[in-house]
Each structure stands twice: as C-alpha cells, then as structure tokens.
C-alpha cells in the first residue's frame, strides 16, 4: 500500500478533465478580448474532451491499481463511475450550451465550474480513504454552490444558492465531525483497513456514531430523507440546466462512496437497519410529496428523494449483486433524469420553470420530445421495457432473503403511488390539447419548443438508450457486476 505508484496511464480521465479546466480557465480570461471563446466553437472542447474522458475510462475498465500511498484506487468500480460521470457531463454541458437565463459573458465560467465539479466527482470515484473522499466531495460541492445561483436576476436562484450552501456547510461540518470520531476510535481512515474492524454498536460505539455522521454528509448529497429538504428548493430555484446537473452527477458521487463504504455494513448491523429504515421512509415520503407538486422541477426534486431510497436498497443487501444493482441503478437514474431534464430544458424557451400544464399538446408540437419524455417518465416509475424497471428488479431481487423483505414490498408498492405523478407528465403531453393560459409566473408559455437537430439528437439517443438498456441490460450489468466485485471481491 505504502507507495506512490504513480503512473499517468492510470489517470487519463482525471488528466483530460484537468486539461479542460485549464483551457476553460484561460478561455475565461481571454474571453473579454475575443468573444469567440464564449461561442459554440469556443465551448466545443467541453463535450469533445468529455467524450474523450469517457472513452479513456472505458478503455481502462480492467485496471486495478492503488496509488498515492493507498489513498487512491483505480479499479473497475472507479472506472465504471468515471465513465458514467464523463458521459453525464457531456450531456449536461450540451444541455447548458444555450442557456437562456445565463448572460453570455458568464457562459465560459459556467462551464468552468461545471467541469470543476465533475472533476471533483471523478477524483471522488477513486478515493478509498476518508480524507481524500472528503476533499474530493468538497471540490465538487464548492463549484455547485456557485452554479446554483447563476440564473439571471432571479431572487429564487439566490435563495436556492443560499440554502444550498448553508445546508451543505452544515452537512459537511457534520461529516467532518463524524470523521474525527472515526479516526479517534478506529485509528485509520483507509476503507480497506476499516472494513476489517468491527462495526457493531456494542464493540465500537464511537466509530458507529462517527460513521453515521459521516454518512449523514453523504446522504445530504444524495438528498435522502431526512437530509432532503434542500432538494426541491434548489431544483426550483436553479435554472433548468443547472438543476439537470445538480440532480444527477453529484448523486453519482455520493453513490460511489456509499458503495465503497458498503463493505463496512453487514446486513445485521445497526447502521444497516437505519439505512433500510431511511430508504423506506425516503421512498414513501418522496413519492407522497411529489404527488402534490405543480412545478415540474419540484416534482423531480421529490422524485429524486424517492430514488435515493431505491439506491439504498441495493446497499442494504451488502452482496456483490446488491452493489452491482445499485451501480446499475445509478446509471439508470442518471440516464432517465438527464433525459427528463433535457426535454424540460428544450421546452422552456426562456428558461422559466415549467408546470404540468406547460406540457399540454407537446405530442403535437414535437412528437420526438413527447415520446422521449414518456420514455423517461415510465422509466422513472420503473415500468418495463425501460432501464428503470430492470434496475429496480435487480435491486429488489438482490435484497430479498437478506432480512429486509419488508423493504422490497415497500419499494414495490410505492410504484403505485409514483405512477400518478409520472403519468401526469405523459397525460399532459399526449392527452391535453389546450395550451395553458398561464404558466407558473402568470404569463403563458409561448410555443417555442426547441426542435433543432441537437435537441432531437440528444433526446433520441437517451430515449433509445432508456429502452435499449431495458431490453438488453446484460452487457452493462456485467460491467456493474465487475465494478461491485472490485469492492466486495466475491465471485
């Protein structure tokens, strides 16, 4: 363990992101003199290098190396998540290319912080030591604190930014405090060493309390009940494009750390019981709250509270299958949420928040976007033949028989609650013909849905992936299984 063991070929994705950051930094400095840097051509390197990072992660999937004195690990799990993060980053940056609520002169900086945040997540994927994890998590969070209020002249966005930074700081403080307890009692911060130590309350109460606090910090990122309250407010306040990013990629970061920490959590431990309980409450609470929302982004906020609970289902089992299911579901979550936000961003021509009524007649205005919205909605509620269904099937199959059968039932029954509000998306897009008289802010949404080539291509690629991965999930699942085995080491 105790070696530097540094090799550039292990960290291609990180390097590529770093180069991109440098480029954007320079572009931001030069942009005053040469406005071309803020144009489409100037921003072209963002998706291109993002794709390159994804490619390099995909090519290094079978690496298994530990670097920097045992604190940084490149393995199937980290590369799987780097692949997801890079792809998600590409979509999120393309989504934000023509952001109506962002002044043109801030565009480069916006992408700079987007990239920085993603860079933090990429580093986080490989962290196997609690302090490294903490630093990477903060790296990705600080950029987000700046992104959230970046919505032109919007008080709500400022409010959302303030809420996010205050709650975020509190959660971070909590996590740090917990970290100090863990260090004090277990005398190490390496996950591999921690995994060999006992984690029941009777033997090491201090460490268990510490870990619970540390997990609290992660649950804040994941927006799990009871750390969820920022989520709908921030989604609502932030611009559609920022919300698309906030809703997806940082969640992946939290999930990967949870997967790494899951090696500590055996199914019979007190902490695992708490995890299962929080999952059940989060799923039910999120779905019930989402039922009554009128603002689509608030609805998606509560929906992601519910989905945070789904992810925990895979972690409670603690087996390689369970972790693989969680990793797979993380992919599904990323895909279907990005798709949903993509469509919303395309419909909202002036960057306003959409209400359900604004979707009326979408199937006439733009059949492609309507179809893709329907695909993502049915995937979110986990109806076949979508990736959401397969993901959930594996989550619950891996948990059954590990003492949490009740959680499986809670999760399944929740589909029946969730269907109402997801179905409303489809209902408004397909069956309501009359355009809304007034949107959320009192003025009607004019019919200016983005029907450009990029808009359709993005939606179609993601829509087809949602269906295709629902029908042929095998290859991606085997990646996820390899990733999980890298942590648990099972066969």
């Amino acid at each position: 363990m105790g070696e530097l063991n540094f090799n550039f070929s292990f960290i291609w994705p990180e390097t590529i992101f770093f180069i991109l950051i440098l480029y954007l930094f320079l572009a931001a400095l030069l942009e005053k003199k040469r406005p071309a840097f803020a144009g489409p051509l100037g921003l072209l390197p963002v998706p291109v290098l993002g794709l390159l990072a994804a490619l390099s992660s995909a090519l290094t999937l079978d690496l298994s190396q530990t670097m920097f004195f045992g604190s940084y690990r490149v393995d199937a799990l980290s590369q799987f998540f780097k692949l997801l993060i890079s792809l998600g980053f590409v979509v999120a940056s393309l989504n934000a290319l023509k952001q109506p609520t962002l002044e043109a002169e801030k565009r480069v900086e916006y992408h700079l912080f987007l990239t920085l945040s993603s860079f933090g997540l990429v580093v986080l994927s490989s962290g196997v030591e609690l302090v490294t994890i903490y630093l990477a998590l903060e790296l990705s969070s600080y950029s987000l604190y700046i992104l959230v209020p970046a919505r032109a002249k919007s008080k709500e966005a400022a409010e959302a930014g303030l809420k996010y930074i205050l709650f975020g700081a509190a959660a971070t403080a909590l996590a740090l405090y917990g970290l100090s307890w863990i260090i004090a009692s277990q005398e190490t911060t390496y996950i591999a060493k921690l995994a060999e130590l006992p984690w029941d309350f009777a033997t090491s109460p201090l460490a268990v309390m510490g870990l619970a606090l540390f997990l609290g910090g992660l649950f804040f990122k994941l927006a799990l009940f009871p750390f969820h309250f920022w989520c709908p407010d921030v989604y609502q306040g932030a611009s559609n494009e920022t919300a698309a990013f906030t809703a997806t990629l940082p969640k992946l970061g939290a999930i990967i750390v949870l997967i790494r920490l899951a090696t500590l959590l055996k199914p019979e431990l007190e902490l695992t019981h708490i995890l299962a309980f929080l999952a059940a409450v989060s799923v039910t609470y999120g779905n019930l709250c989402a039922l009554v929302q009128k603002d689509l982004k608030r609805m998606l906020g509560f929906s992601s509270v519910a989905h945070a609970g789904y992810i925990l289902v895979g972690l409670c089992a603690g087996t390689a299958e369970g972790l693989a299911a969680a990793a797979f579901y993380a992919m599904a979550y990323l895909l279907m949420n990005l798709l949903c936000f993509w469509v919303i961003s395309r419909i909202s021509h002036d960057g306003r928040n959409l209400a359900y009524d604004d979707l009326n007649g979408l199937s006439d205005r733009s059949p492609v976007l309507a179809m893709c919205l329907a695909a993502s909605a049915f995937s979110l509620v986990s109806l076949p033949p979508t990736v959401g269904f397969i993901g959930k099937l594996w989550l619950i199959t891996s948990l059954w028989g590990h003492g949490y059968d009740w959680l499986v039932i809670v999760v399944c029954v929740n589909s029946a609650i969730a269907i109402f509000y997801y179905l409303s998306l489809v209902r408004h897009a397909y069956t309501e013909d009359v355009p809304a008289q007034a949107s959320l802010d009192g003025t009607p949404l004019i019919n200016a849905t983005d029907t450009g080539a990029l808009s359709y291509a993005g939606a179609l690629v993601m829509g087809i992936l949602v269906l295709l991965l629902g029908v042929i999930p095998g290859p991606v699942y085997s990646l996820a299984l390899n990733a999980a085995k890298a942590v648990v080491g099972g066969n």
Binding site: S363, A374, F378, L383, P384, P385, F389, L393, W394, I396, T397, W400, G401, D405, V408, I409, C412, V413, S415, A416, I419, F420, L423, V426, R427, Y430, T431, P473, G474, Y477, S478, L481
Partner: protein, 560 residues
C-alpha cells in the same frame, strides 16, 4: 415437434416492427390500409401454430435464448393447451379492431394504430412468455398503449377512466413483482415451467397466492376489484373495448391457471372456498347491476364481470370439466363480448349515443345489424346451440358436481344473464323508436359484415362442435389438474397423500382417449367425473368438517 422456425417470436414482434414502420411513415399514407395489411400478415404468421399437437400436454413451439445469464433471465417462449387459444384470440382480435375503428377514429389515426399494434405485441407476449420476468415485461408494458387508447381517443370522462385503469392495474401488479422476486430466490429460477414443478412450503405459498390473487383478481376483474372496468369500457373507443374485453380480461384468469394452481397448489386449495364465493358474488353482482343499466356499453361491461365469474368458478372447482369450461368460456367471452363491443361502436357511429333509449326499434331499420346483435346476445347468455352454452354448461355441471349448493347459487346468475340480454335486445329490436332519425341509418356496411360474420360463424361452429377445441385443451388441463391434485396437500404433507398422487394419474387417460379426441363434450358429460370423487379426500371432506377444524385451517398459516 421441435422446429427451428421461431413462430412465437415472429408472431410477437411482427406487430412491434409494423408499429415502428407505421410510426416512421409520412402522415398522409393510408394508415388504415397499412395497418390492416399488417394485421392480416400477423394472422398469416399465426398459421404455423396450426401444427400444435392437441394430444400432448407439454409446452410446444419452445424457444429459449439466454437473456441476462448473470441473473438467470432467459427469453423463453412456448404455448400449451391453455395458452394457444389465447394467442389466437389476441392475434385475430387485431384485424377486427382495425376494421371496427375504420370510421370510428377520426383524429391521430396513425398513433392509434401504432397503439393497437403494440397492444397486440404485448398480448401475444403475455400468453406465450415462459419466463416470469418476460411475462411481467409484457404484462406491464401493455398498460401503456391501453392507457393511451383510453386517454387519447376515449369519451368525455376519459381522464378519470384512464387514470383509474392505470393506477388500479399497476397497483395490483406491484405485489406480483414481489412474488416473482420471492419465487426467484426461493425457487432458484425465473423459469415458469420449472417453478410449476417446484414444491414450496405452505406459508410461502399462502403469501405468494395472495400476491398473485390481487394482481389477477384486478385484471379479471373479480367482484370487489371490478370498479375500473365499467369506467374503462365505457370511455374507451370501441377497438379499445374490444381488446380489453377479448384479451386483457383473460390475462387474469390465465394467470390463475398458469401460476396460482401449479405454483401454489396447497394455497389454492386453501383459498378455494373464498375464490368460489367471490366468483359467485361476481356472477350475481355483475348480473344484477347489468340489469339496471341504461347504457348499452355499461351493461355489457357488467355482464363481463359476471361472465368472468363463471371462468374463475370453473377454475377453482379443480376438476378437468370445470377447467375445460373455464377455458372455453374465456374463448367464448373473447369472441362474443368482443363482437358485441364492435357492434356497440357501430351503432354509436349511427346514433351518437350509447343509451338504450336512443337506440330503440332498430329491427326495422337495421335488420342485419339486429340479427348479429341478437345472435351475440343470445350466445352471451348461453343459449343452446351457441358457444356460450357449452362453456357455461361445463362450468355449471362442474359446479354442481363439486357441491350442489355452489351450482344452485350460480343458476340465478345464468337467469340474470338471460334477463338483461333479452331486455336489451328486445328494446333495441322492437321498442318504439325514440326519434325518426333511425330511418336514415344505413344497415351494415361491407367491412362490418366481414368483422361480424367471422365471429358469428365461430359462435355457431364452437356451439355445435366444441370437441375440436376440447381435444386441444384437454390433455394439458388433465395433466394440470392431476398435478394439482397430487400436490395440493402441500409439500410438508407429502407423505400422507401418496393416496392423492396415485389415483389422479390413472383417472386422466380415459377422457383424453375416448372423450377428448373424438367427442370432447359428450365424453366429458358421459364421464360422471374425470376424477372419481372419493379420491380427492382433502377437498371433499372440507365443507363438512367441524367448525373447530375449519378455524384451525384458517389460522394455520399464522401458526405454522
């Protein structure tokens, strides 16, 4: 009978392909003609299924491909005597649906036909899937096009009806998913044929049966869970009603036959009294409510509840005869009620109303229409000579044989059916016309002749010569019931009912040899019972057992 030609896969996915092609077509093509051709091709693709060997009881046309090996998921398709007719029914419903919406559907024609094709894919898939997850795939996927059919092309209350349909059926199948997962972990596989042979403990069966029950009872629908049906039927466009009545409702009863009986035999026997009671309640309640309707479509919808009650009754008396009747009734109900909903659509296009009062005295203006309506109506209440009679008779005879009280309780149901259908047809044919509008209405058009004459021919043919059908299904049902009898005691008590296992098998052959192959119905009737009564001890002794023993049975799952 192994064949390299993947008949079922082609049959399932041709509609999907056709739907994709149709979706990509430019707007102005003759969508109806294209879909009609696609549906006729679908019918033609069903021809290879004619090679189905009626005398065998196992699954045929098997196809198996690994799907996700890591989870033991496989793409397995196959049909046996129980499902083959349901597959045919789904396939042949498609052209009828296309024809009956030829003039009925005026807007978003292309999307409508895409939905129809997707529905057909899901229906065929449900009946031929032999992997639980694959089954669930189709089972849930079909909600989406059906929802759209009601929500986009429905009547005034379409919003309420479509959401209710979706949430109700989805809520029912959430626990089905839990049951599937539990079966996978407990039984080690998703494969339906393997799970059908697995013995589970009684407590496990108890809960799985309940999960199945909620899903299937909602789909059938059985009495307390039926409220989505009238709403959905009344609001759906006629093609939607036709598919709903002809195919969707059968999925619930198919589920009972395919899953509940073989996978949870002990629990099925345990819950049989409840199931029979609910079936009788459905029969009587459906009939009584149908009698009070003034809307033709609602009347037929409630009659469906009653008819499906006969089906579940036939299933849960656990005799070959009852199962034959149930299966026959499933097919009948598909043909008859499907045709009736087509006709309601046809008359709605003329009168723009579904009220009986607005459609009176049609006998004068629309004699051919009323002829067919009368024929299907009579078949619906089981008039001798029609297929409805055979199915209902088989179920009633099995019910009487099972327990005289059960039989007697069903009789009013049969009478009620006659009452509401006669009331309806009398008024539609001969009552005073409510307005003079009717004189201008055209009698049946050519395409209406086509899609009504075919079911009508089937009604008569199956009514007069049911032996062909019965010879197809009997071997499967016999082995299913024999298997059920040998295992209903539960895995834990396998030692004692060596008695039950032995006699069931030898009891089966006489019927399949003598009755099944040449004269199915008369054979079935001649045999007093396919299973000699004394040899089904657990079941016959049940109704006469003491109150204490009964209470003990009821509490057993909890105490065990």
């Amino acid at each position: 009978m192994s064949s390299s030609y993947p008949a079922l896969t082609v049959l399932t996915f041709w509609p999907l392909l056709a739907a994709l092609l149709l979706a990509l077509c430019p707007k102005d093509v003759h969508v109806r003609a294209v879909s009609l051709v696609a549906s006729l091709i679908e019918c033609a693709l069903a021809i290879p299924l004619l090679r189905f060997q009626g005398g065998e009881s196992g699954f045929q046309f098997l196809e198996k491909i690994d799907w996700v090996p890591a989870w033991g998921l496989s793409y397995t398709m196959g049909v046996d005597g129980i499902s083959i007719f349901m597959v045919w029914l789904s396939v042949f419903t498609l052209p009828v649906c296309v024809l009956c919406s030829w003039t009925y559907i005026g807007q978003r024609v292309k999307e409508f036909h895409v939905c129809l094709l997707l529905m057909t894919m899901a229906c065929v898939g449900v009946f031929s899937a032999l992997d639980l997850v694959l089954f669930y795939f189709f089972w849930e996927a079909l909600l989406i096009p059906m929802y759209l059919l009601i929500a986009v092309w429905g009547g005034d209350e379409k919003r309420y009806a479509s959401i209710k349909f979706f949430i109700y059926t989805l809520a029912g199948s959430t626990l089905l998913l839990v049951a599937i997962v539990a079966l996978r972990i407990q039984g080690g596989t998703f494969s339906i044929p393997e799970l059908m042979k697995t013995d589970f403990g009684f407590t496990f069966q108890y809960w799985v049966f309940l999960a199945f029950f909620i899903a299937f009872a909602i789909k059938v629908p059985m009495f307390p869970f039926h409220t989505w049906l009238p709403a959905a039927h009344v609001q759906a466009p006629s093609a939607g009603s036709v598919i709903l009545a002809a195919v969707l409702l059968k999925m619930g009863t198919y589920g009972f036959l395919r899953f509940s009986l073989p996978m949870t035999p002990a629990a099925s026997a345990h819950f049989a009294p409840l199931m029979i009671a609910i079936s009788i309640a459905s029969i009587l309640y459906g009939g009584l409510v149908a009698l009070g309707q003034s809307d033709i479509k609602k009347l037929i919808a409630y009659s469906s509840v009653a008819h499906m009650g006969f089906v579940t009754l036939g299933i849960f008396v656990f005799s070959v005869q009852g199962a034959q009747g149930a299966l026959f009734q499933m097919l009948n109900h598909g043909i008859i009620t499907g045709a009736l909903f087509c006709m309601i659509g046809a008359v709605y296009e003329r009168s723009h109303s579904r009220e009986i009062a607005k459609n009176q005295g049609l006998g004068k203006f629309l004699p051919c229409f009323m002829f067919f309506f009368g024929l299907f109506g009579f078949a619906s209440f089981g008039f001798p000579g029609t297929n409805g009679f055979v199915g209902e008779f088989l179920v009633l005879a099995a019910a009487f044989k099972f327990k005289t009280v059960v039989g007697i309780l069903c009789v009013p149901g049969a009478l009620l059916a006659a009452a509401y259908i006669l009331k309806l047809t009398l008024r539609m044919a001969w009552a005073e016309p409510s307005s003079a509008d009717g004189k201008g209405w055209k009698d049946l058009k050519k395409k209406e002749w086509v899609y009504l004459a075919l079911p009508a021919a089937l009604v008569i043919y199956l009514g007069l010569s049911p032996s062909g059908f019965l010879s197809y299904v009997t071997p499967t049902l016999e082995s299913a019931i024999a298997d059920f009898d040998s295992r209903k005691g539960g895995a834990g008590k396998a030692a004692a009912p060596g008695v039950a296992a032995a006699p069931a098998a030898p009891a089966a052959p006489p019927l399949s040899a003598a009755g099944g192959m040449e004269t199915g119905l008369s054979g079935a009737l001649r045999e007093r019972s396919p299973l000699p009564r004394g040899e089904t001890p657990a079941f016959d002794s049940f109704p006469s057992e003491s109150a204490a023993a009964f209470a003990d049975r009821l509490t057993r799952p909890i105490t065990e």
